[in-house]
Subunit: 526 residues, 2 copies
């Protein structure tokens, strides 16, 4: 499949006229062949209006059709074969193996949502029987189902060119809910975006769906982002990226004449808590695992462990020494883009200059473009309590070790943390009671609490929460990974005394969809 440098507006290819953009290969520090035309408000408007037109029809497609559509997208992505893998690898500097793994996850996500659509629990079908003889007033027949919110704007992430991009988790869950999707391609992987966008466009045609179910836009982040989120047809926003970007979209969405929800996954330092017995027992193995996690994917995961806490003593000292040694054996590697690389360098510089922060280990940059150098810093708990901004995210393969005077100080730091995606605890049997005192704080602070494992690696399953209190995300009530992601794009509608001739299938007496329903307060599936 050829890359034409065009936007996909419904079933059309539209070439943007506001200048051009080019993709960039960070590994060789060179732009890639081919111009992408930049779109204007006119294309934003056209994509949104098409999505609006498609909405009523698309949201009422039956489960089989919608599941087939999601599987057809998955197949289309697989069918792109090496063309996709090569291009995504070129545009991101990520190794082909990683891209292949991510493609697997993207396909699995689409398939998970296909099965969720069929299962029908997402509808939340709820029936309260009429009580015509109730005194003083009869009770009417009441039935509730959840319907899609409306067209969704999706902002692709830089660090997951497939799994959180054009056909990633936000798109898959919004489409599963019955929402048309307008994606703004991430400027750092435009070719990848076009390839995947075409796979969706093709699946729409194959399944006979209205063209407005999907559009792909190319534009400058801020201008086009604001236009898209401001458009009256858009009813929700999915975003993965920087805190600044997320906050900007949140503001725009809140200030619309009709405010809309924004699901922004922003920044997290994913604290790792090492408890004394765990450190006593296996400081070296823990240190190695920790550095693996810090440097995985050149530290460019939302769940990268940016801080680690331990209690002063031999165990934590050993751990720190092993971690520094281990880090020194790692190599600098290509980061996703010059922008991310430069932000990482500034972040390192900020830590190097910070009062009370010592640099335990740092890898030499070596020769190459956009090379992220693993680095390890140390600071006391007291210092961190005085300067909480030392715990702010530095996106890349760096982490800060925090030595706490005692458990109380570790607890105080946890209490001072802002919202996070994850927290990890390394414990042995003897640490259980100490860990128990920390869990309630962590429950208030994070979306996922992990025991004896590092935070990198996010399962796409039913019990996953990839979310957390602000500023980890804009909405702690939700997850952007896993089955729960579909909940973000639904709202309930009640029907009172609706004639059976008008009743949606999910609510008909005979339960023709054979889905789980709450009947007079009891779960049933006839």
């Amino acid at each position: 499949m050829k890359i034409n440098g065009t936007m996909l507006i419904g079933k059309e290819e539209v070439r943007g006229t506001e200048g051009t953009m080019r993709a960039f290969n960070p590994a060789i520090g060179a732009v890639l062949e081919g111009d992408f035309g930049v779109g204007t408000d006119a294309e934003v408007n056209r994509a949104c209006l098409l999505a609006q037109q498609a909405f009523d029809s698309y949201r009422e497609t039956d489960a089989a059709t919608r599941a087939r559509f999601l599987r057809s997208i998955a197949r289309g992505i697989s069918d792109l074969g090496d063309t996709l893998i090569v291009r995504a690898s070129e545009e991101t500097g990520l190794p082909k193996g990683r891209i292949e793994g991510e493609r697997g996850r993207t396909v699995a996500q689409l398939e998970l949502f296909a099965s969720i659509v069929s299962d029908g629990r997402w509808i939340g079908a709820t029936l309260d029987s009429a009580l015509p003889d109730r005194k003083p007033q009869p009770r009417p027949d009441l039935r509730l189902r959840r319907i899609a919110l409306g067209p969704v704007a999706v902002f692709a992430a830089s660090n997951f060119p497939l799994a959180f991009s054009v056909a990633g988790g936000d798109t898959a869950s919004a489409l599963a809910a019955g929402c048309p999707v307008v994606v703004k391609a991430h400027s750092s992987h435009l070719g990848t975006s076009e390839l995947v966008g075409r796979a969706i466009q093709k699946a729409i045609a194959e399944c006979g769906l209205p063209e407005g179910v999907f559009s792909l836009l190319i534009g400058h982040g801020n201008t086009m982002g604001q236009a898209l989120v401001s458009h009256p047809a858009i009813k929700a926003v999915g975003f993965t990226g920087s805190r600044r970007g997320g906050l900007s979209l949140m503001r725009t969405a809140a200030n619309r004449p009709e405010p809309i929800p924004v699901y922004a996954e922003m920044s997290s330092v994913n604290p790792v808590f090492f408890f004394p017995s765990a450190l006593d027992k296996k400081a070296e193995a823990l240190a190695k695992g920790f550095i693996d996690s810090v440097t995985l994917g050149v530290g460019q995961f939302c769940t990268n462990p940016g801080i680690a806490l331990g209690i002063e003593g031999d165990g934590f000292q050993q751990f720190s020494r092993f971690a520094a040694e281990e880090l020194s054996t790692r190599s600098a590697a290509t980061m996703l883009s010059p922008g991310i690389h430069s932000a990482y360098r500034s972040g390192l510089e900020r830590l190097r200059q910070a009062k009370g922060v010592s640099n335990l280990a740092e890898v030499e940059p070596g020769q190459g473009s956009c090379l992220g150098t693993p680095a390890l810093f140390a600071v006391t708990g007291k210092q961190l309590l005085a300067e909480p901004e030392l715990a702010e995210e530095v996106f890349g393969p760096a982490s800060v070790l925090i030595s706490c005077e005692n458990l109380e100080e570790m607890h105080a730091i946890a209490e001072q943390l802002s919202g996070q995606l994850t927290a990890s605890l390394f414990i042995e049997e003897q640490d259980i009671e100490a860990a128990r005192t920390l869990v309630p704080t962590l429950e208030r602070k994070v979306g996922r609490i992990i025991f004896n494992q590092y935070p990198t690696g996010v399962e796409v399953s039913y019990a996953m929460v990839h979310g957390g209190p602000f500023p980890a995300t804009s909405d702690s009530r939700t997850t952007s990974v896993g089955a729960g992601a579909i909940e973000r794009f639904l709202r309930p509608v009640a029907y009172q005394n609706m004639p059976s001739a008008l009743m949606p299938a999910a609510l008909q007496d005979a339960n023709p969809m054979k889905i789980w329903r709450l009947q007079d307060g009891q779960l049933e599936r006839q």
Copy 2:
């Protein structure tokens, strides 16, 4: 029980020092005996900090304790007997019978949430088994439960002194979810608020719960409201009231360092659509029912039908005539407060002056204080399309009849409406196909679609949606009445490889709570 004019901060009675407020009896136009001390930021702060301190302990109370607590509040409210009924009637001008009915609903709400807490579905327990042999990576054990968001600020409504006030739907659902609650009493029923607040305070003591689970504040709407919503301990807001008040809280909440969700139920005109065959068959009965709904509770319900649409012709003309005649037989009646009365009079004046609006019928005010005069206006669909603000809410016993040229125009008006709590359709068999074309639009516009009944009257049940797109509410994904209200105050937390010694009961292998859980994608309740 005596009314002392004090705030309830945890287990203390605290007399406000920022001047005093007095309650007002709108029926006789006179202030009621007794001063209420007005609170300051210091009391807001103290109440919020107590709530924060209570949170971790309260949210982990077992279902039996929490259900007992909610039932104990219900009993306490019943035990207030006539003292409560008389005071609430005096403070609102609502007849004692209506207050008794509302007390019944308030008690039933608390009992519904007690049973919901015990049922445990609100926890959303979800378990994904570990797959240690999975390739290339083993899958960890993942379990998810939902926990309470944190302390909730509740703003009592003027029009439901019991059911949407101190122990009303917002408070009941937040307490059920495990959230401490800080209520700002509505200034128009301060004595009622204190009586009910004491019942909650007593229930807390009886059940041995931490005092910070509940506080009741007295203060000036805007100042204290902003202080409360701005407080870092507050994690969500429940509000029922004017659009201006709701928007102001939404803005404050969005601009906090940590933005928080606001559940504001604001304004709605609850359109009623009369279809041709229904009008042909029973114009007179429909008109009588319509005027009953418009004038019920002096029009002071969120679900009051502020506009009604029909298609020009004999049927709608007859209906309009009957409705005008029927309205003329009704009497003016006491509104809730001088402020609401004066806003209603301004609203009527606006309609009287509006171009193209004719006054079909209006009741004489007669002698008395705060008398709301039923009124009926008419306008063409064309006029309304040109001036959509004619469909804005006038809170009180007034409605506007809209004569549409044809079904398309009725459809266009529906499409132009802003978000509403409800829409009602009156149809006969022959109208079904015409109604079918309108339903998708209404699904996008409202929270509850009603057939052949008027919108006033809201069931407290499982399938109720008392919500709807903005500006009916601030968050269309929720309901403030019925079982679904608890969902507003929860967020998911995932636990990865958690040792069984630390596992919350809801997620333990043996399912000791015997609740419904999603085990590897399948609903089970062993």
